[in-house]
């Protein structure tokens, strides 16, 4: 057991919970009357803080805020037409590109050595696995956050 009195910070640490306190410090505080009183005072203050009345707004905050939120706009048929047209045009462009450049594409595939193709496949597979793991981890994290815990 140490005879040196603990610092104010150590005293607060002890009062908050003895998890992070060293055994000599705990022994000292428990055996030293003056330190024990100091620690008990802190404990008492901390417990009294917890029983303070909770601050509450004297107006209905939810109603006030909700009345000011912009109303959601339903998607117009024009927006849907633009979206579908964009998708169809993109597919057509991609189709034409593949049709006109198919000879170049087949040459590009047959022209590469097996080692390069294995390298490309391995890289793509690794990337897909990494993205999959990251997606699952992100989803779990978001679910945990939204529980308000």
């Amino acid at each position: 057991m140490t005879t040196k009195h603990p610092s104010e910070a150590e005293m607060q640490q002890f009062a908050l919970g003895i998890v992070n306190c060293t055994t000599p410090l705990i022994d000292h505080i428990q055996s030293c009357e003056s330190c024990r009183v100091k620690a008990d005072t802190y404990k008492l203050i901390f417990s009294e803080i917890k029983v303070q009345p909770k601050p509450v707004f004297d107006f209905n905050l939810t109603d006030l805020v909700m009345s000011q939120l912009p109303q959601p706009k339903p998607k117009t048929s024009f927006e849907n037409i633009v979206l579908y047209t964009t998708v169809v045009v993109s597919i057509l462009i991609a189709g034409f590109a593949i049709y006109f450049f198919k000879s170049f594409l087949s040459n590009a595939y047959t022209g590469i050595t097996p080692i390069v193709s294995y390298l490309v496949i391995t890289t793509l597979a690794s990337l897909l696995i990494f993205l999959g793991i990251d997606m699952v981890a992100k989803y779990n994290r978001q679910m945990k956050i939204l529980n308000f815990n």
Partner: protein
Amino acid sequence: MVNRILKGDTQLFATVIKNTEGLVAQITFRLLSNSEDRKDIAQDIYLKAYRNLPGFKFQSKLSTWIGQIAFNTCFNFLEKKKVILPDNKLPENENSNSALELAANKLIDLSNNEAEDILFRSELAEIVQSAVEFLPPLYKTLINLFHYEDISYEEIAEITGMPIGTVKNYLFRARKSLRDNILVHYKQEEL
């Protein structure tokens, strides 16, 4: 929930408000003394949160993110009004140790007498409450977030935008100030 709100289900935002209102009240009540200011700022906080919801990155709890908006909004408001969150130094109490012993011993002595103990406890609760109110706004906020709302150092650091070390240091000073305030009160009572 956030995604559903973003897709247009604004009514769900009411649930977000109900779930986080306590934390926002804790921050606004500690930082702002005027009730009209609190009313305006509380609305402003949630309107900002709603507007910035698409930017919520799910890197923290939604409540911590709203707490951060609340703290920053109050802080900006105080800055605009030129109110300084003081780093108050309370007068050193020369006889603090004797007063401290007096207060703590009183509790120990009374522990065998239930009726007196209840009276002392209720008196102490009032003293602690007024001593907390006497603290500078920032200390008051940190004390309540940590001891009342049970928010961790890390989350308080996120809410306030301060490094964890600074949060711990401020909390240490806040607790010490609080204890000193209570001791001053006890000393005056005994005089």
